[in-house]
């Protein structure tokens, strides 16, 4: 079995409890950009956590699906952090977030065209070369019908993985949210996802849009993982076996013990699969 079972996204409020937590299989994930700083206590905390637990760096701003090449300063900052922290996993998104000189703090969609495929593969290769390791690419949440797709998202991700050797990060909450928002089958998506490329799974909470209600779900990361997302997770694990699985929580942060209990639920599910095999 993987040494890593279920992990937690780590926030500054929980450093002390996270540092000493003895839960088996526990690991942590942080947004890389929050630690791309010159020095100070933030980096010192992260190094202390890394000395005690496996750590994953999750990037949000490389803009791999942007028409422009990844920002050299951001890439150099990530490479320096990877060198310093030696994370267990490094991941990014199938999305863009830069336009000209500006950073737009979101994970934005694009038409999955032949041109986009070539561009993204070049960017992934450039990042992997700079880091000296492979990264995992995450399926984003969708809120729009976009014209001009030439590939399904699954085929597109599988092709990027085939061409660049990168891994994939299956975010099951994003699958649920996107399926609801764009009228696809979440079960069909999870069943067709290339499991042999998946190196990490994300689980998170979402919220109904305040105006449009359940017809528009928002990937808000501010609530516990919802029942349909747990069911999709079960479905994936039954087919594909266990993967390091993260409970993502970025807002409305509950006490550490509450997050850990949610993590334990995923941990027990993964441990049961291993015991049964």
């Amino acid at each position: 079995m993987h040494a890593l079972t279920a992990g937690l996204s780590l926030k500054a409020e929980h450093y002390q409890e996270a540092l000493v937590c003895p839960a088996p299989g526990l690991w942590f994930e942080v947004h890389a950009e929050n630690y791309m700083v010159a020095g100070g206590p933030r980096l010192a905390w992260l190094e202390a956590i890394r000395a005690a637990h496996p750590l994953s760096l999750h990037g949000v701003s490389l803009s791999l699906a942007g028409a422009d090449r990844p920002d050299p300063t951001t890439l150099a900052g990530l490479a320096a952090l990877v060198g310093r922290i030696e994370p267990t996993l490094v991941s990014e998104h199938l999305a863009w977030s830069r336009h000209g000189p500006n950073y737009l703090p979101d994970l934005l969609p694009f038409p999955r065209s032949a041109e986009a495929l070539v561009t993204i593969c070049a960017h992934v290769a450039q990042v992997q070369d700079a880091l000296g390791r492979t990264i995992a690419l995450e399926n984003p949440s969708h809120y729009l019908a976009i014209a001009g797709h030439e590939w399904s998202e699954i085929e597109f991700l599988a092709e990027i993985a085939r061409r660049t050797g990168c891994g994939l990060l299956l975010d099951i909450n994003n699958v649920h949210v996107s399926a609801r928002n764009t009228g696809l089958s979440a079960e069909g998506y999870v069943d067709a996802f290339p499991a042999d490329r998946v190196v990490e799974v994300h689980l998170a909470g979402h919220r109904a849009d305040p105006v449009h209600g359940e017809r528009l779900l928002i990937d808000s990361h501010d609530a516990p993982v919802a029942a349909p997302v747990w069911a999709l997770f079960e479905r994936f694990v039954e087919r594909a076996g266990t993967r390091p699985t993260l409970i993502e929580r970025d807002a409305e942060l509950p006490p550490f013990a509450e997050l850990l209990a949610e993590r334990d639920q995923a941990h027990e599910r993964l441990a049961a699969v291993v015991a049964a095999s």
Binding site: G39, G77, P101, P105, S113, Y143
Partner: protein, 256 residues
């Protein structure tokens, strides 16, 4: 990127629609969908949340509603340039100063400069601290020609007329806010001699001295220029205090 890139065209139209300039038919078609507001909100909230995290005293002083409106205006005019939002908001103090007719708070810009000082000090590079002992080991003649180099985490901000440091520190230290304020100029010094950022009052002479040190002026010149600025306390008081606070990382030149 080829000029005919459809990916670049799509992203140009999408970014324009995000910022409320959906002029092309493609951008208008995107912006009409209910889900487009999710992206608009996420981008704007991401900027506003980062500003609130980096300027917490300002956010407390003006309240959530005013802060969100002001931060939103700032963000639209000055989008982040860097994926790391830890120091997003350079120029927010000057932006708030220009908004004084609306805020009615003359000290808001000065308080914002102290928030900025804390944010920058917190993430600045690690470096050794110049100790009083190593300074004392220098002969007076050598000291006059040496330059004291500010530590990478040392920041300071002053106002000639307003008690910005007292207002700022009362919020940071959660001290009673209703105590009487003395309305005169003040400065604050922020340093990171150990694991955390610490602060202390900075008089005008010491602030001028630090300005001169940061410009690379030798100790003797910096002291001379500091004297007219701050007659209220002599160098014998504030120099040991600056060194004890860890304001400097090392001295440079002259050769022994």
């Amino acid at each position: 990127m080829p000029p005919s890139s459809t990916l670049a065209d799509f992203q140009r139209a999408f970014a324009a629609a995000l910022l409320g300039e959906a002029t092309s038919p493609a951008a208008q078609a995107l912006a009409m969908q209910p889900g487009f507001a999710v992206y608009r909100n996420t981008v704007l909230c991401g900027c506003i949340d980062a500003l609130a995290a980096n300027y917490p005293t300002v956010a407390t002083l003006v309240g959530a509603e005013w802060f969100e409106a002001a931060a939103g205006r700032f963000a639209r005019a000055h989008l982040p340039r860097d994926g790391s939002l830890a120091v997003y908001g350079k120029g927010f103090a000057e932006f708030l100063e220009a908004l004084e007719p609306e805020s009615g708070l003359a000290y808001l810009g000065g308080v914002a400069r102290l928030d900025r000082a804390w944010t920058e000090a917190h993430v600045a590079a690690d470096a050794p601290v110049l100790t009083a002992a190593s300074l004392a080991a220098m002969s007076p003649a050598r000291l006059l020609d040496a330059t004291l180099v500010p530590h990478p985490a040392t920041r300071w901000a002053s106002s000639p007329e307003l008690p910005i440091f007292t207002i700022w520190r009362r919020h940071r230290e959660q001290a009673p806010l209703d105590a009487e304020l003395e309305w005169h100029g003040e400065g604050g010094l922020l340093t990171r001699p150990g694991a955390v950022v610490v602060w202390r009052a900075l008089d005008a002479g010491a602030a001028t001295f630090l300005d001169e040190c940061a410009r690379g002026r030798p100790f003797g010149v910096a002291v001379e220029r500091a004297f007219p600025a701050g007659p209220e306390a002599g160098i014998a008081t504030w120099l040991p205090a600056l060194v004890a606070a860890g304001a400097f990382t090392r001295q440079e030149g002259p050769s022994p």
